[in-house]
Symmetry: C2
Subunit: 369 residues, 2 copies
């Protein structure tokens, strides 16, 4: 398989809940006005604590320093596993599950800290630039590694990068929480982004009133909304409550129209030095071949787990950022057509969820609600 | 005829060019998210000097005090002449021209300062709350005057308001400038506002780069863009350059699809106490029955004059805020269909414009470019 080191140098920042107002102008520019910015990698995720923004250096320039902004000090590089048809695994599961044994586990063993960003299209594994030599030496046995430079893919080997071996923090056990709300992972034709602009602006910038938050918390639900626009591809992760605000005919999801349950990892903010957190979650999921998305934020990590196992996303085809299949995408089922077997999601949750939960329990302190 | 004192208490403010970034959050809310605000009267106009915002007290609450915000100290009340079919004038011209002799001139004679806000739908005459008794005593001979209170129209007479006779500043002569760009006055079904959201956001909040401004000034054009959302009706005034950025099938203008030339009044900022400025402009236009819009801003006044005289807006029907005619509106011609007689606007300008200019010259120092 091929592993690509993408041509983006990323920053990971957080914006405080109260401070978002001050960043409305640059964020709306980065989300909606592609002609006015050279930013190619942008992700904004709201969690109960704050807003996490992952963006390249062009985008980072747009944000003025402020007391409301925290910037993680590292430069992060996004890695991406490109399936070239020679996948060794016979697994039908996708997402972080697919790369759990080939990428996540080896990096954890070498004490490399990763920041995961799953999207509708693919899964980005962000590693610190200073860890790159360790990453390459760890993964070059399993992968052909390429560095993308100005649109070209240049083969990389361990000796190509200065040795930066540096021990990251040791792995620890973290409590998890499983909120009650269910999530969908969706995409959108970038040309139709203007059609949902006011709704998206409303949800991102104006839905943070104490009243609405209280309503959420009362139901043991979590506030979680993620938007990303990466190399022209849009991905949205939201719960079914937020989804109802969007027109059903524009957002599309996988052909099976799945809903996902969230496992939120961490009691205290996880920081950026600890390794093995993603591995703790993805390993047992991979053992059972259960698909999962994984989204790291500034404070905590979030796995989105398919309540019905063995159900691959987007039919049986793998998402592939490097070879998008527009005809397949356009024929994908609309989110409004949730398949009948999921009409009563409690049913499949009862059937499948305990299995996932049991596996987590073996290695984690499980805080089931 | 009936004159209505509308149920809005308005503030007139300016936001500095550099300060707009800090007000993006509340302004986008006021423009696009009607469900999140109780503001019913909102107008935002960009001029080369600043942004002028006219809004009611509910909207005013949304704007945090700032060094970039200047607030005119008065409360302003919007007056509106409702045509009830008994119009005494046989004039076909509309806009400020229609009310020049019945409203504008008498108020100027009584030294009442007015702030004009023409929209696609109607013309609002804003007067200071403290001048209300003078306004009523001045106009009650010509009009049946009603005050709108909670949706009811209550007849008003001079003795109903405390006497606030107070001399405003004396009228003076002001230089005018006639920029080269041409303007259109348009409307939009409020339900389709989301469809132009990203374009409108781009034009209002991101088109203020020094480069774009320089390009404008090099052509002796003026930066002028006005958006208003008043009691659910949208009005847009923009030049033909800005208009090209909007989809042609959503914005509509009058059936004659007119383009307008601007007369910008004032060399120094006009302030808010002087009276007679609107009268100076509207009187000669009324004498020649030439339609005109009139938009006051924080620093200067702007008349939009039809280069072809005697051409009423919206066919021969009068715009009437109190009795909108949706069927007429929906059948109105799209802005993309500019009538052939205006295909070479220079032609009609040559024919008609000097007449307007000559009339201005009699009373004003005319700064033709």
């Amino acid at each position: 398989m091929d592993l690509h080191i993408l041509d983006h140098r990323l920053r990971v920042i957080s914006i405080s809940k109260n401070g978002l107002v001050n960043f409305t102008h640059p964020l709306i520019k980065l989300i909606f006005l592609r002609n006015r910015t050279r930013c190619k990698f942008f992700s904004l995720t709201e969690t109960p604590e704050n807003y996490t923004v992952v963006l390249d250096e062009e985008g980072f320039k747009e944000l003025q320093p402020s007391e409301h902004l925290k910037v993680e000090s590292s430069i992060w590089l996004p890695l991406n596993v490109a399936s070239n048809g020679n996948a060794s695994s016979s697994s039908q599961a996708v997402g972080v599950t697919k790369i759990a044994k080939s990428v996540i586990a080896p990096l954890a063993q070498q004490h490399v800290s990763v920041f995961m960003l799953s999207t509708y299209q693919t899964d980005f594994i962000l590693v610190k630039e200073k860890d790159l030599s360790v990453v390459i030496s760890t993964l070059e046995e399993e992968f052909n590694i390429y560095k993308e430079v100005g649109g070209e893919s240049v083969p990389m080997h361990c000796q190509d990068v200065p040795n930066g071996l540096q021990k990251n923090g040791k792995e620890a056990l973290h409590p998890v929480v499983i909120p009650k709300n269910q999530f969908c992972v969706m995409s959108l034709d970038p040309d139709t982004l203007p059609s949902i602009a006011t709704t998206l602006i409303d949800v991102l910038f104006y839905s943070n009133s104490p009243k609405e938050d209280a309503a959420n918390q009362g139901l043991d639900c979590i506030k979680f909304f993620s938007f990303s626009l990466i190399d022209g591809y849009i991905s949205l992760v939201m719960d079914t409550e937020a989804q109802r605000q969007f027109p059903a005919d524009l957002l599309f999801t996988s052909s099976s129209g799945e809903l996902w349950r969230m496992v939120r990892i961490g009691g205290q903010p996880l920081g950026f030095d600890e390794c093995g957190i993603v591995a703790q979650i993805s390993q047992p999921l991979a053992d059972s071949d259960i698909s999962a998305y994984y989204i790291s934020t500034f404070s905590f990590d979030h796995a989105l787990v398919s309540p019905a196992s063995h159900r691959p996303r987007r039919g049986h085809s793998e998402r592939n950022r490097h070879a998008p299949a527009p005809e397949e995408r356009s024929s994908s089922q609309l989110i409004s057509d949730v398949p009948s077997e999921l009409d009563d999601p409690r049913l499949s949750l009862q059937l499948q969820w305990p299995m996932v939960a049991r596996q987590q329990e073996e290695r984690l302190t499980l805080c089931l609600d």
